[in-house]
């Protein structure tokens, strides 16, 4: 059996907290020092070793609450139930304690899991089945089982332990979908030997016994306990994974095909991807260094001139200021893609150099200002509204050159996003070529699949000749890959 700590770390990982094996060991050491007794100590200690950003701390706290309150919760909730039940079955309390002392019963406790195989000694006089002990073997068997004892005794800890054990045998940790909850509940109940209780209830129904009511109560209470347990485990294990699953699917789906109701998820995902890329690439930021004498090299060189520091070497790192121009087609067919490209680029503002953005459908205009003034999401919407319409690449490129050609130099990257469908207008390839010659690189992102390029009114093949790199960007995954590439090459 895995230790609870390892399980907990598994849960953390599924909720997108990065925990390395080394940190797992740290957490274990921390626990062995702090001990498990004080819950607050436990929480702080684990948080210090496992959650390393404020964002992760929030997730950690939520998971910790869920995971470690588990047993305590189950106990308290249950004892309340038990109290209610006891009051309704007042007459039985005395009998319970009596049955406790019977040798057959204690044998069943030692008997292990289900207790279904306990050798029922039917001859005993048990007050619970005083009515018709001979006629109801099912009831007798039930009464001998460990499960029933625990239910009647109100031994909540043991019961919870049994549920946990049964859950482990039925691989509850593998639960992924909410539709599986029912199956797992049933499996756990079977593992615990609930069939005895069920049989007894059926029997009682047939014989119209007066024990029917309390039996049903026990059965329902047990079912509820297990259902709650499964529910909690589902939240722990599956929620995070479902999130990952959804993200995976959304990442692969063509952006145009994603249902409107998932759009907010897409935005979250874009931000998450941007965060990931930012973390990956911010590493290379700021490599400049002020002019310092590289003493080691200077002296080494000085050896040749008899120790005189004749030739000096300076510490320096090359520093260039890259610039990014994003030109986005925001006409109906590609608007969604432009939206996410811009969202992506501006979410990366901490690692990306200066981004200037232009939007066009027929006429082109600079929209960088909008992004400075408003939050990214809002700005994207405004751009869409302002520039939507039918596409004319020729005019757009002409506009672009008059606006920004002078600013394009050998450290400029131009990204063009569009489907290159020019409605049979003049493509003005010469304009793109002039951009191509001046810029460090021209990237063309096309949301259409490669097979469609050049078909119909698509000028993609022709435009491609004046690009350093052309790529598909139909889905978020593809977009992420392109932006990753971009970050690599711009710096």
């Amino acid at each position: 059996m895995q230790s609870p700590l390892v399980n907990f770390i598994d849960v953390l990982r599924s909720h997108d907290v990065r925990v390395s094996p080394a940190e797992t060991l740290d957490a274990m050491h921390a626990m062995s020092i702090l001990g498990y007794e004080d819950r607050e100590h436990l929480r702080i200690g684990l948080a210090a070793t496992l959650a390393k950003t404020p964002r992760e701390k929030v997730i950690f706290d939520a998971c910790f609450e869920r995971y470690f309150s588990h047993n305590f919760d189950a106990d308290t909730a249950e004892s309340e139930q038990a109290a209610n039940k006891d009051s309704s079955d007042n007459s039985e309390t005395a009998e319970q304690s009596e049955q406790n002392q019977q040798p057959g019963a204690s044998g069943a406790v030692a008997g292990g899991d289900s207790g279904g195989d306990s050798s029922g000694s039917g001859g005993q006089s048990d007050p619970f089945d005083q009515v018709d002990s001979e006629d109801s073997p099912a009831l007798q068997e039930l009464l001998d089982s460990q499960l029933m004892q625990q239910l009647r005794d109100g031994e909540r800890e043991h019961l919870t332990m049994d549920i946990a054990r049964a859950a482990e045998r039925s691989d509850l940790g593998e639960i992924r979908m909410f539709t599986q909850k029912g199956i797992f509940t049933r499996r756990i109940l079977d593992e615990m030997g609930e069939d005895l209780l069920r049989n007894a209830v059926i029997e009682a129904e047939q014989t119209a016994s007066n024990l029917l009511q309390p039996l049903r109560q026990y059965r329902d209470a047990l079912r509820e306990l297990v259902r709650d347990y499964v529910e909690r485990e589902y939240l722990l294990h599956a929620e995070g994974r479902n999130q990952q699953f959804m993200e995976d699917i959304i990442g692969r789906t063509k952006l145009n095909n994603i249902e409107h109701q998932y759009m907010h998820r897409v935005q979250d995902l874009v931000r998450k991807m941007a965060r990931r890329l930012a973390a990956k690439h911010s590493r290379k930021r700021k490599v400049y260094r002020r002019g310092q004498l590289n003493m080691t090299r200077t002296i080494r060189r000085g050896v040749a001139t008899d120790g005189a520091l004749f030739e000096t070497f300076w510490k320096r790192t090359r520093k260039d200021k890259p610039q990014l121009l994003a030109v986005c087609d925001v006409s109906g067919s590609v608007a969604a893609y432009a939206k996410f490209l811009l969202l992506f680029l501006y979410s990366l503002n901490e690692v990306l150099p200066r981004v200037r953005s232009f939007a066009f459908s027929s006429n082109l205009g600079e929209v960088s200002e909008l992004f400075e003034k408003y939050p990214v999401e809002q700005a994207v919407e405004m751009v869409n509204r302002q520039y939507g319409g039918a596409t004319d690449y020729g005019t757009a490129f002409a506009d672009f050159t008059s606006l920004a050609l002078e600013d394009i130099n050998s450290s400029t990257t131009v990204i063009i996003l569009g489907d290159a469908r020019n409605n049979n207008g003049d493509p003005r390839l010469d304009v793109l070529q002039s951009i191509y010659q001046r810029a460090k690189q021209v990237l063309w992102l096309n949301p259409e699949s490669r097979r469609m390029w050049g078909t119909g009114d698509s000028e993609m093949r022709r435009y491609q000749s004046a690009c350093h790199f052309a790529a598909e960007c139909g889905s978020l995954k593809q977009l992420e890959r392109v932006v990753d590439q971009l970050l690599k090459s711009t710096r």
Binding site: A30, L34, H41, T49, Y288, R289
Partner: protein, 310 residues
Amino acid sequence: MHDLDFPQLDSVETIEAQFEKHGYICSREIATAVFLAFKLRKPILVEGPPGVGKTELAKTSATLLDLPLIRLQCYEGLDEAKALYEWKYGKQLLYTQVLKEKLGDVLQGARGLAESMEKLHQFGDIFYSPDFLEPRPLLKAMQQEGGAILLIDEVDKSDYEFESLLLEILSDYQISIPEIGTVKARTSPMVFLTSNNTRDISDALKRRCLHLYIPFPTVDLEERIVSSRVPEISDDLRHQLVAFVHSLRELDLKKSPAISETIDWAKSLLLLHAEQLDENLIRDTLNVLLKYQDDIEASTEQLRGLLPVR
């Protein structure tokens, strides 16, 4: 390398009490993190807004344990020559001059080039040796005989390359100097790293550290801090000023007042012999709490609403 043992750090509760004795009121989180750091021999990465006592934590630990505090302030462009070690170039040059004069003696009796080279090799090579090593804070912390508190302040201001430089020190308490070899710490120092979160620290660095986030304190804690730092202040005034600072933090400000500002303000109010907070007094002293004109203007407008009701 041997480890330190301090009774002052024996349990979380002792730490809390000891820190309090030295004027640092810490929350349970802080005490537990220090306790773990000490027991696990791990560095602590302390994050949080400026002025909540991150640097103070290291300083207090140093006074508490009576260890030297070695501080490395990080900034952009900090490199190993300033953080780790540097060669004493001047001395090295002198050494070569001396060597040149001695060269005749060394090579005496040698015949032919091969023999001279052999003699030269036999002569001790101390050009790159610890004698010419100028230790910088990190190396100095490794060399302390009785251990030390190493404070690497504002690590987020340094470059990424520098972070990688720290990795070896933080995980193994050792430094590799190419010309000499590996220098191990005589006694592993207690390391505090602080960060103001201006950028993300790399995963590799985070993994080697315990993480402690110090947020703005609760009202309760802050009152205790003020009374420990400015004991002369009256209960009533302390009550009011802490409540006021807390309501300021609710506002959307460029820079929220931190604990250090609260303490400064308490001191200034004491100097002005104030007994009660009132609008004029606050308006005159607000610049102690808020460091931006925009913030001061924004909060002056809402001053009446922020004042504690009497």
